[in-house]
């Protein structure tokens, strides 16, 4: 049964990709929806399996470690697989209706979509450094393709800028992997973490870790290296930008987080941790400030992604050199932040897409009066905004609460300013959009009403993000499995 599940996770997406490549838009849409259904069922089955029996290792095709691909299926990975299923499914369903079948290169959306999905599953489950590199590359190339899909000159410019940044990041990561392999002769994360105590402290290894984290930070658009994200996410089609913001940036962060948690104690240093945390903090404040000043709606949401990513990197200082309980709290907080941000950001982008389509212009102040005629999408945009602000009862609040507790527990009180200030600033730009939509200037309803199902999808995602706050406890308990040493490999 596990073999079936594992095969379903990695290979079926590639199969769907090839199938959709061969057929036109309508038929590939049908195949894709069927594929989404199967993927979701498989992911849910795997989640249930891990929830009951706990994490396990799986050699793909039975090949042993050094040459074969070894997968580590534990609570965290499975939760992210589940997240990908939910968000990917929603975006796929939304794109099916949203994209115009008549445009010829829209038919290439589906293959890229499935490649992206396969790459994501590869990252979540990969335990081998080099396999992570390959999956990362797969994600980047398909994401660049999606951004450039059917776009004009500025879409292509954004795609090229994104490609350059992604490739540079991957190569830096690969160089790091090469250096570590040179030192330890093994690529599996678990194996290296055992050999680490012997070789810790050597300059070469520290440089390798810094290189890898820098490369991944570039791919996750951490503060100084975030230049490529707003144009890319802002210009792409809304289901694409939802996928990018919700999942793609999280993949590279996921790897960076795993590296830090495995190798951090020995190779990392207090200075490095605080530096990354500081970059994250400044990213939160700077991203929110820029989001507040944007004139175009999707740019506002894109810069908000830059801000929210800053929160994630608070994990580094909060899990280095602190007690086990505080570190666990920080990890739980970070995971909840990733999940709630993915759901909320996807909902926000999809809702923004609906609003722009109905208003006919992507400027924020063109939204006047939409609250009267299109309350549903606006309401889901608002709910997603509430989760980004970290106000109760949303998942964002649960994450902020745990990070607050962790920073208080570890005595690093300065992260409070980032957490609370970030919350207030995000309130600023969400309510700016709300303000614009509440202005009553015309009684006539000259808005284009998108179809009902387009409006329902973002609402579902927003409600999930809202509900996450209430069911945080069970989600966290399943996720806790991997970090207990027993679960690992």
């Amino acid at each position: 049964m596990i073999l079936g599940l594992m095969a379903g996770l990695l290979f079926t997406p590639l199969a769907w990709a090839v199938l959709t490549l061969l057929s036109g838009f309508e038929r590939s849409r049908l195949i894709s929806w069927l594929g989404i259904l199967i993927q979701s069922l498989v992911s849910f089955a795997l989640w249930a399996a891990v929830a009951s029996e706990g994490g396990f290792h799986y050699q793909l095709g039975g090949w042993p470690a050094p040459l074969g691909i070894e997968l580590r299926v534990d609570g965290l990975a499975v939760t992210f697989v589940m997240l990908t299923a939910v968000v990917g499914g929603a975006c796929g369903w939304h794109a099916g209706i949203y994209l115009d079948p008549k445009k010829n290169w829209h038919r290439y959306f589906w293959p890229l979509f499935w490649f992206l999905w396969a790459g994501l599953n590869g990252v979540w489950l990969g335990a081998d450094l080099f396999n992570l590199y390959v999956a990362l590359e797969l994600i980047s190339l398909s994401a660049v393709g999606l951004v450039a899909l059917g776009g004009q000159a500025d879409a292509l410019r954004a795609a090229i800028r994104y490609l350059m940044a992604a490739l540079l990041g991957s190569l830096a990561y690969l160089l790091g992997v090469a250096l570590i392999y040179g030192q330890f002769g093994s690529l599996s994360m678990g194996g290296i973490s055992e050999l680490l105590p012997a070789g810790s402290g050597q300059a070469g290894l520290i440089f390798a870790l810094v290189l890898m984290i820098a490369g991944l930070a570039l791919k996750t658009a951490l503060f100084p290296l975030h230049g490529w994200l707003p144009p890319a996410h802002g210009i792409a089609k809304s289901p694409v930008s939802a996928l990018l913001s919700a999942l793609v940036v999280k993949a590279s962060f996921y790897i960076a987080a795993r590296l830090w948690l495995e190798f951090g104690e020995h190779l990392g240093s207090y200075g490095l941790a605080q530096l990354v945390g500081a970059l994250g903090g400044v990213g939160v404040l700077w991203g929110s400030w820029l989001a507040f000043r944007q004139t175009r709606l999707k740019q506002v949401v894109a810069y908000s992604s830059v801000a929210q990513i800053g929160y994630l990197f608070l994990l580094f200082p909060l899990s280095w050199g602190v007690s086990e309980a505080v570190s666990l709290q920080a990890q739980q907080g970070m995971t909840l932040q990733v999940i709630s941000h993915a759901l909320a950001k996807a909902a926000m982008f999809l809702a923004a897409g609906n609003l722009i389509m109905s208003v006919g212009s992507n400027r924020v102040d063109a939204l006047a009066g939409v609250s009267r005629f299109l309350p549903f999408s606006l309401f889901s945009f608002g709910l997603a905004g509430v989760s980004l602000m970290g106000l109760p009862p949303t998942g964002g609040f649960a994450a902020k609460w745990l990070l607050l507790q962790a920073s208080l527990g570890s005595g690093q009180w300065w992260w409070l300013i980032v957490l609370l200030g970030g919350g207030l600033l995000s309130a600023a730009y969400v309510f700016r959009v709300y303000r614009a939509s509440f202005i009553e200037n015309s009684d006539t309803d000259l808005f284009f009403h998108p179809s009902r199902s387009l409006e329902v999808i973002p609402m579902i995602l927003a409600l999930l993000s809202l509900g996450l706050g209430l069911v945080a406890e069970p989600v966290l308990s399943v996720m806790a499995l991997p970090f207990s040493k027993g679960g690992g490999g």
């Binding site: 009267r372 109760p392 609040f397 607050l404 507790q405 207030l424 509440f438 406890e473």
Partner: protein, 498 residues
């Protein structure tokens, strides 16, 4: 899930469900929306009644589940929460009736009533919250659900008022979150327990706990409109009358005051708070707010702004009462929570009636209103006299109890504050009454509307009359078993005797 645990949850869910249904209803479905609204309000009233009856006979109602590792979501109905829950349930029913009449033909009413019941759901949540975490959860939900009500009209001015409202309340919320997280870090998850937790306290915790107390009061003070943090309240007057009635008489303002009461009585405990010298500071701030609010109210020309400033001063009575830490003083403060709610909602209903029927917003346009709208004016007069503290109305009961309480603990200056504020109340209410009853009508009403036989539509007339009668009954029968005063004595027995 025995019956006792489900009732608080159902009480909360009635209005949550109502708001979801109303959002889904089409804009044109007026009759259906009104019936859903009234059904939800009625059901909630019954549930609260059952809980009040249960608590009177010593049962306990509690619903809890762990929301985050180490943090519980607790809904508990105890005597203090029933005081606030009962008040908001009753006044929500009346305000809904009033709002249906008030928004007769205005746009996006389903949005209004949706957020309206969401706002009451969060007020009910605040009342039933069992620990600080749940309290904060509904406290922030209240902010979010009241913003669209404040900016309902969509005019530039409303949006500006909304912006200020959000800036104030969200900053307050952030400060409160910081305080709660810090408190949680220091002493772990604290349920609300009569008598508080910090009676026998080791000295080295004293410093941080005082700082946490100041942060808590600052966070809650924004909603309770304590002096430096009250700026948003007069500007939020631009909202429609039922909103300013519910916001300023029951939901928002009282949430802040109720929060401070919970923190002082059931987290810190009255003895501990007074030993740590916190209460004298609190008493000072609330006294300043009382005097400041009343003096500012003197100079307002707009009727609702004058009522808003009067609310600022009246709410601080509650906080002053609690900081008197004697049993009688605390009883006076708590009973004012109910009395002020009823009196202020009567005044806002009448202000709304004047605005809606005669188009009158400023005080100097009120000449001769008594002759044109006798029913509303009688209700307004009773509310005004209640505010001044003229016996036998509810306001007098509060001032008398607080006065005796203050003298009992030897804080004589509190009596001076009470007297000065009563004089100021008289100074800004009596001229209005003079204009209503004794001044002849100079110019025609700005834009008058006729509703046939009655002076204004039945939906608008009955709520103020009901609350005015309630005002007299509560004042006269203050020592009956189920009157607010005796219910408060029940609370104070648990609170102070611990």
């Amino acid at each position: 899930m025995t019956a006792n645990t489900q009732i608080p949850l159902f009480a909360l869910l009635t209005s949550l469900l109502a708001s979801v249904i109303i959002f889904a209803l089409p804009e044109k479905g007026h009759r259906l929306r009104t019936s859903v609204n009234l059904a939800a309000a009625g059901l909630k009233l019954i549930l609260v009644g059952v809980m009040v009856w249960g608590i009177f006979h010593g049962q306990s109602f509690e619903f809890a589940f762990t929301m985050l590792p180490g943090v519980q979501f607790v809904l508990r109905a105890d005597a203090l929460s029933m005081l606030f829950a009962g008040l908001s349930a009753v006044l929500w029913l009346l305000t809904t009736i009033y709002a249906v009449g008030y928004l007769e033909d205005s746009p996006n009413r389903s949005r209004f009533f949706g957020f309206f019941s969401l706002c009451v759901a969060s007020t009910m949540g605040i009342a039933l919250a069992g620990n600080l975490f749940t309290f904060f959860l509904f406290y922030e939900m209240l902010t979010l659900s009241t913003y669209p009500l404040v900016v309902h009209r969509g005019t530039r001015q409303a949006l500006k008022a909304g912006r200020n409202y959000i800036i104030y309340t969200l900053t307050g919320g952030a400060v409160l979150l910081l305080a709660i997280a810090w408190l949680h870090g220091l002493v772990g998850d604290l349920p609300f327990r009569p008598g508080g937790h910090f009676s026998g306290l080791e000295p080295e915790l004293q410093g941080p706990l005082t700082l946490v107390f100041v942060l808590l009061i600052a966070g809650l003070g924004v909603k309770a409109a304590l002096v430096p943090l009250h700026g948003w309240l007069p500007q939020a007057m631009v909202a429609p009358a039922p909103v300013s009635a519910l916001l300023h008489a029951v939901a928002v303002v009282k949430a802040g005051a109720f929060g401070i009461v919970r923190v002082v009585c059931e987290i810190y405990g009255l003895e501990a708070a007074s030993q740590m010298g916190l209460l004298s500071g609190l008493a000072l701030v609330s006294a300043i707010t009382i005097i400041y609010g009343s003096t500012r109210a003197l100079y307002q020309l707009d009727l609702k702004r004058r009522l808003a400033f009067s609310t600022i001063s009246q709410v601080s009575y509650i906080i002053l009462g609690v900081s008197l830490f004697g049993p009688v003083g605390v009883a006076g403060g708590l009973v004012h929570l109910v009395h002020q709610g009823i009196m202020k909602i009567t005044l806002f209903f009448c202000a709304g009636n004047y605005a809606e029927t005669l188009g009158v917003h400023r005080i100097d346009e009120l000449d001769g209103a008594g002759r044109r709208m006798p029913g509303t004016s009688v209700a307004f007069t009773l509310g005004a006299f209640g505010m001044i503290g003229a016996p036998p109305l509810a306001g007098f009961v509060t001032k008398w109890t607080m006065g005796t309480g203050a003298l009992a603990v030897g804080m004589d200056w509190v009596v001076v504050v009470l007297v000065v504020s009563s004089l100021l109340n008289a100074a800004y209410f009596l001229p209005i009454l003079h204009r209503i009853w004794f001044a002849g009508q100079q110019q025609a009403w700005p834009h008058e509307r006729r509703w046939g036989r009655l002076e204004t539509s039945a939906w608008l007339l009955w709520p103020p009359l009901i609350t005015a009668v309630a005002l007299i009954v509560i004042g006269l029968l203050a020592s009956m078993p189920f009157s607010p005063l005796s219910w408060v004595n029940l609370i104070v027995e648990q609170e102070v005797m611990q």
